[in-house]
Amino acid sequence: MADKKLVMLVDTKRCIACNSCAVACKIENNLPKNIWWNRIMTVGGGNLDSPEGEYPNLKMHNVTVACQHCENPACVKVCPVGATYKDPETGVVRQDYDKCIGCRMCMSACPYTGVRSFNWEEPKYSLAHAVGDADAPEHQKHVVEKCTFCYQRISKGETPACMDLCPARARHWGDLDDPNSDVSRAIAGRSYEHLLDEKGTKPGVYYLV
C-alpha cells in the first residue's frame, strides 16, 4: 500500500468543459503538438457540448478524462520492463521514459482510451522554446506518456497544474487518507462515480455527481 492515497475529485455539477485544466496541463508539461494528457468530454449527444434528448428535454454534463491513477492499474501488470509503475509513496501511476521500450502494451491494457499517447516521431512543438515548468520531463520519441499528476510539481509540494486553478472550482486534489485534506472535505456527503467501475481498476479519479 502507498503511504498516501493521492486522488482527484471532479465535481460534474460544476465542470462546464471550459478546458482550462486541459490547457494548464498542456502548457505546464510542454506537451508536443496534438498531445493532450487531459481531455474534456461531454456526456450527452455525439458532439462536444451537445446534450442528449430532444429539444427541449435535454441534459448534459462533462467529465475530464486523464490517467485515472488506479489503485489496481491494468497498465502496470502488462508492462514488460517495469516502465509503468505505481509510486509506492504517493500511489501515482508513473511512466519512466528511459525504461519504456515503446511496446504500447500499457495502452492496450488501459481501459481508459486516449489517456496515454505514444510519440511515433520526434515530438514537435507549436513554439520554438520550451514552455511550462522548467522541471517537466522532456518528451522523447517512441515513448508512451500520460498524466503524471504533475509529479515534478507535487514533489515540490505544489498541486498538479490542472488544479491551479479550476475556474469553476470543480477540481479537488489531495490525500484521501488524510481526513483534513481538500478531497476528504469535498467528498463528504457527496455521491461519486468512477469511470468504468466494472473493470476493477479502482480509479483514483472520483467524479462527484
Binding site: 462546464i16 494548464a24 502548457i27 458532439n47 514552455v131 511550462g132 522548467a134 514533489s155
Partner: protein, 842 residues
C-alpha cells in the same frame, strides 16, 4: 510586484532529467521510481535556474481581467499562471482560463506583426502582398498622407476607431492618450456601436452609474432565485460561473432563460427555452401575473418609482407643478463622476464645470384625498387615477404601464415566446418571492428590439421593489468600469468634431455627408480592434468604408482580418511587453500590469506609436511625460484619494478595489440617478444612445413595449427566402477574435463550425460533419455542420470570430445586418435570417 523565484530550490531542467533517470534506474531493481523524498533531495543540490515572475493583467473584453503570473526564463515568457488578488485575500476572485493560460503562443506565435509594413505597390487591398518598411518610413507615409488629406478634404477627414482588444488606460480602450493626439489634429472619432441596447433600456429608467452595473457576483448567493436572461456565462464570462455555482450550493435557485441549451442552462434548476427576440414579451407577461394577482410592491412603487406621476395625454410629459402655476426652483448641483469604460471622447471634459444648474419642477400626483399636489407635498400619492387638467386627460404613469402590461396575459405571451402560460406564471411567482437577481446578457441586446427587453426587465424590478439590496438587483454586470478617474491629462484639448457612431460610417463614406452636411472622411486609424471580423455586415464595411478610404492604417500585434485590408500595418506590442493600468474590470479593481519582456521584433506599445504619430504631425512635445506620469494623472484624483487609492498604491498592491464598500451593490437605499431620484419606468423624455441625425417614435419609447425585431422572426420581410435565425456564441476558445490563431486552442477547436438541430439539418439533406454554406443577401460563410440537440429548431448557432482564412469561404460577420434601432444605435448581431446548404467546393 516582480519577484525572483527559483522554481525548485536549484536544479536545471537537464539536471532534473539526469537525476530522474539515475534514481529511476537505481530503484528499478527494487521495482520503484524516484521517490518524492529522493527528488526533493536532488533539487537541493543543483544550481538555481532562475525564473522571474511578473504581475500581468489579462485584458481582453471578456472583462475578467485576471491577474496572471508571467513566468520569464532566459528573457522569454514560458508560461502564465494564476496570481492571487490582494483585494480578496480569501481567493474568491482568483481566476484564470484556457485563454489566460495560453498567452505564450499569442506572444511568440508566427502570426505576430513583426515590423511596419505597407501594401505592396500595385496590389489590391486584401491581396496580402506586403513590403517591409522602417518605422520612420511608416510614420512619414501616414503623416504625409494625413496632411494631404486634411488640406484637401478638411481636418475631419482623418478618423480613428478601436475595438475592445485592450482594456488599458494608456495603450488601451480606456486611454485618454488617443484623444490627446487625435483631438490635437482635430480628427473624427468613430465610436463602436455595441452592447448599447441593454444600457439604454436600463439606464433610462434608473440613471447612470456606469454602463453595465449589477450586484457584485459574490452577492448572487444571497438571492433566493437568480434569473439569467440570455447570458452564456459558462463560455463568455467563465470567471463568473463559480459565483453562480456557489450560489446554487448556498440554495439559490438558478433559472436560465435562453433559446439555447448552454452549459449554464444544463446546470440550471429551471431552463426556459424562449423564442429569440421575445424577452420583452416574457417580462411583460410576468408583470401581467404580478398585477393580475395584485402582488406588486405598492409601497415601493409609490415611494421609489414614477408610478404616481400624472402623465399628460396631449404631450406624453409628466404633469408638473409649473403647469399648475408653481414657479420652478433653480439649484446648483455637482456633476456626477464619469466611468472609464465610456468611449466618449475624453476631451469632452476639458474645461467642464464641476457643477450644473438643475431646474426643480416637481411632478404632480393625486393625493389620497383626490386633490392634485406636488410630489413632495402629497402624503399618499396614488398609483391609480385620472385627472382632468384644463381639458387634458392625465393618467398615472402606473396606469399607463398597466395598460401596456395587460396586453400580455400568459395565454397570449405563450404564443409569442413559445413558453407555456403556466411556466410564465411560475416565473412570475419566483420573481415575486425575492430577493432575486436578474442578470441580463447580450442575447436580447442583439436584436433591434433589445432596448425594450432591458427596459421591461428593469421595470419588473420597479414592480417587485427588488433592487438595491443584498440578493436583489437587475442589470448586466459582467463588465464594470471604474469611476472617479481623470481623463483630462496633460495635453488634452476638447474635440472639435462630434463622435460618429460606427453604424453611421458606411453612409458617410458612401455620400461624404453627415447629418446633411459635407463630411468627407478619407483615412481611418484602427487600434485594439478587428472591425472586419467583429463588426456587422462585413461586405458593406470592406466595400463602402475601407473601399472609400485613401489610407487605412491598422496597429495590431497580430495579423487579423482587418490588417489584411490595411495600407499600412504598425506592429503593436503585446500586453506583457509594456506596463499598463487597467481601470475596467469585472473584479472592480484598478490593476497594474508589469512589463515582463521588451517588445518583440520591432513592435512598440500604442503609447509609443502615438508619440511618433504626434511628432510626424508636427507635435513632438505633445506627449512628453512618462507612462507612469500619465497613469498617475489618470488615477490621482481627489475622489479616489479619499478612498486611499493612488497610482503608486495601485502599482504597489497590484490591485485595489475601487468602491468604498464590498460587495458593491448598485442603487442602495433605492437612490436612483434619474431626474426625480426614482425609477422612471415611464420615460418622460426618451433620448437616443447616439445622435446620428435619426428620428424615432417617442410614444413607443415612453414605456417598455414588445414588438418584432427587424429580421429575425417568422414572417419578416425576408422570411420567404430565409427561414433560420442565425445566433452566435462567444466561445471559450476566443475572446472575440483574439486567440483565433492560438495553436494550442486550435488543437481543441480546430475549425469553424455551425451548430444545427438535426431536424433542421436533415430537412436540408445535411449530415453531421458536412461542410455547409450559410447565406443570405448580405454574404455567405462556409463551416462544418455539427449536430446539436441543444440548438432550438429554426435557429443555428455559430461560435464567432474565426478569421476569414480559417473558413473555406466567407466569414460569419458577412451575414450580419447593419440595420439598427434608432434609439439603441446598436449592432444587432442576432437579428438575421439565413439559409444553409451543403457545400461541395474545396
Amino acid at each position: 510586484m516582480t519577484e525572483l523565484k527559483s522554481p525548485k530550490p536549484g536544479i536545471s531542467r537537464r539536471g532534473f532529467l539526469k537525476a530522474t533517470a539515475a534514481v529511476a534506474g537505481a530503484s528499478a531493481l527494487a521495482g520503484g521510481g524516484a521517490s518524492l523524498t529522493a527528488l526533493a533531495e536532488e533539487y537541493a543540490s543543483g544550481q538555481p535556474d532562475e525564473e522571474t515572475i511578473y504581475c500581468g493583467i489579462c485584458r481582453g473584453n471578456c472583462s475578467g481581467t485576471c491577474k496572471l503570473n508571467l513566468h520569464v526564463r532566459d528573457n522569454k515568457i514560458v508560461k502564465t499562471s494564476k496570481r492571487s488578488f490582494n483585494s480578496f485575500p480569501d481567493g474568491s476572485v482568483d481566476r484564470i482560463c484556457l485563454r489566460g493560460l495560453s498567452h505564450v503562443y499569442n506572444i511568440y506565435g508566427p502570426n505576430r506583426v513583426q515590423y511596419p509594413m505597407k501594401r505592396a505597390e500595385g496590389t489590391e487591398r486584401g491581396a496580402g502582398q506586403w513590403e517591409r518598411i522602417s518605422w520612420e518610413e511608416a510614420i512619414k507615409i501616414i503623416t504625409d498622407e494625413w496632411k494631404r488629406i486634411q488640406q484637401e478634404y478638411g481636418e475631419q477627414a482623418i478618423a480613428y476607431t478601436r475595438g475592445s482588444g485592450n482594456l488599458g488606460a494608456i495603450s488601451g480602450v480606456a486611454s485618454p492618450m488617443y484623444n490627446v493626439f487625435f483631438n490635437k489634429i482635430n480628427a473624427s472619432m468613430i465610436k463602436i456601436a455595441r452592447d448599447q441596447a441593454n444600457t439604454r433600456g436600463i439606464n433610462r429608467v434608473v440613471g447612470n452609474l456606469g454602463d453595465w452595473v449589477l450586484n457584485d457576483p459574490s452577492d448572487f448567493k444571497n438571492s433566493k432565485t437568480m434569473f439569467v436572461w440570455g447570458a452564456n456565462i459558462t463560455d463568455a464570462q467563465i470567471h463568473d460561473w463559480h459565483h453562480v455555482a456557489d450560489a446554487q450550493d448556498a440554495g439559490t435557485k438558478l433559472v436560465v432563460i435562453d433559446p439555447i441549451m448552454t452549459q449554464l442552462a444544463a446546470r440550471a434548476d429551471m431552463w426556459v427555452p424562449v423564442k429569440p427576440a421575445t424577452d420583452a414579451a416574457l417580462a411583460l407577461s410576468m408583470m401581467y401575473v404580478m398585477v393580475d394577482e395584485d402582488a406588486v410592491n405598492k409601497p415601493f412603487l409609490r415611494d421609489h418609482t414614477c408610478a404616481p406621476f400624472l402623465v399628460r395625454s396631449d404631450t406624453g410629459k409628466f404633469l408638473r407643478m409649473s403647469d399648475l402655476g408653481v414657479e420652478p426652483e433653480v439649484i446648483e448641483v455637482e456633476i456626477g463622476m464619469v466611468s472609464a469604460a465610456s468611449s466618449d471622447n475624453k476631451g469632452a471634459q476639458v474645461g467642464k464645470a464641476k457643477t450644473t444648474k438643475k431646474i426643480i419642477d416637481h411632478p404632480a400626483v393625486l393625493d389620497a384625498d383626490g386633490t392634485v399636489k406636488s410630489l413632495v407635498e402629497a402624503t399618499d400619492p396614488q398609483l391609480n387615477g385620472a385627472y382632468d387638467f384644463n381639458g387634458v386627460p392625465c393618467s398615472t404613469a402606473y396606469d399607463l404601464l398597466v395598460e401596456d402590461i395587460m396586453q400580455y396575459p400568459p395565454e397570449k405571451a405563450q404564443d409569442i415566446c413559445d413558453v407555456p402560460a403556466e411556466t410564465i406564471v411560475e416565473l412570475a411567482h419566483l420573481a415575486l418571492d425575492g430577493p432575486c437577481i436578474h442578470r441580463l446578457g447580450w442575447g436580447s441586446n442583439s436584436y433591434t428590439n433589445g432596448v425594450h427587453a432591458a427596459h421591461a426587465n428593469i421595470t419588473m424590478a420597479a414592480l417587485t421593489g427588488q433592487i438595491g439590496y443584498s440578493g436583489a438587483g437587475t442589470g448586466v454586470g459582467d463588465f464594470k468600469a471604474c469611476w472617479g478617474i481623470n481623463a483630462v491629462v496633460k495635453g488634452m484639448t476638447a474635440a472639435k468634431y462630434p463622435m460618429i457612431s460606427a453604424l453611421a460610417l458606411p453612409e458617410i463614406m458612401r455620400t461624404d455627408k453627415w447629418k446633411g452636411q459635407d463630411y468627407p472622411i478619407r483615412s481611418l486609424y484602427v487600434y485594439a480592434g478587428n472591425p472586419v471580423s467583429n463588426q456587422v455586415n462585413t461586405n458593406e464595411y470592406i466595400n463602402d468604408v475601407i473601399g472609400n478610404m485613401d489610407l487605412y492604417v491598422v496597429a495590431d500585434y497580430c495579423f487579423t482580418d482587418t490588417t489584411k485590408y490595411a495600407d499600412i500595418i504598425l506592429p503593436a506590442a503585446h500586453w506583457f511587453e509594456q506596463q499598463e493600468l487597467v481601470p475596467i474590470s469585472a473584479t472592480q479593481c484598478f490593476l497594474h500590469s508589469e512589463k515582463a519582456i521588451d517588445p518583440l521584433y520591432e513592435s512598440k506599445s500604442d503609447f509609443e506609436i502615438l508619440k511618433l504619430l504626434a511628432a510626424g504631425m508636427g507635435y513632438p512635445d505633445l506627449i512628453d511625460l512618462t507612462e507612469d506620469d500619465y497613469m498617475s494623472q489618470v488615477v490621482d484624483t481627489p475622489a479616489l484619494g479619499a478612498l486611499g487609492i493612488t497610482y503608486e498604491k495601485v502599482k504597489e498592491n497590484e490591485d485595489m478595489y475601487w468602491y468604498p464598500e464590498k460587495p458593491w451593490i448598485p442603487w442602495k437605499n433605492a437612490e436612483f440617478r434619474t431626474d426625480s431620484g426614482r425609477m422612471e419606468f415611464y420615460v418622460e423624455n426618451p433620448t437616443v444612445q447616439f445622435d446620428v441625425g435619426q428620428t424615432f417614435d417617442e410614444d413607443r419609447e415612453h414605456l417598455p413595449r414588445y414588438f418584432n425585431p427587424t429580421e429575425a422572426y417568422e414572417g419578416s420581410p425576408t422570411w420567404d427566402k430565409y427561414k433560420l435565425i442565425l445566433l452566435s456564441e462567444r466561445p471559450r476558445f476566443r475572446v472575440h477574435s483574439m486567440w483565433s490563431d492560438n495553436a494550442y486552442l486550435r488543437e481543441l477547436d480546430p475549425e469553424p463550425t455551425i451548430k444545427m438541430n438535426p431536424a433542421d439539418a436533415e430537412a436540408r439533406g445535411i449530415a453531421d460533419g458536412d461542410y455547409v454554406e450559410v447565406y443570405n443577401d448580405r454574404g455567405h460563410c462556409v463551416a462544418k455542420a455539427v449536430y446539436n440537440n441543444g440548438i432550438r429548431p429554426g435557429c443555428m448557432v455559430y461560435p464567432k470570430s474565426w478569421q476569414s482564412h480559417q473558413h473555406k469561404a466567407g466569414c460569419w460577420s458577412e451575414l450580419l445586418t447593419s440595420e439598427y434601432d434608432p434609439v439603441g444605435v446598436n449592432e444587432s448581431y442576432f437579428d438575421n435570417l439565413v439559409e444553409v446548404r451543403v457545400w461541395n467546393e474545396e
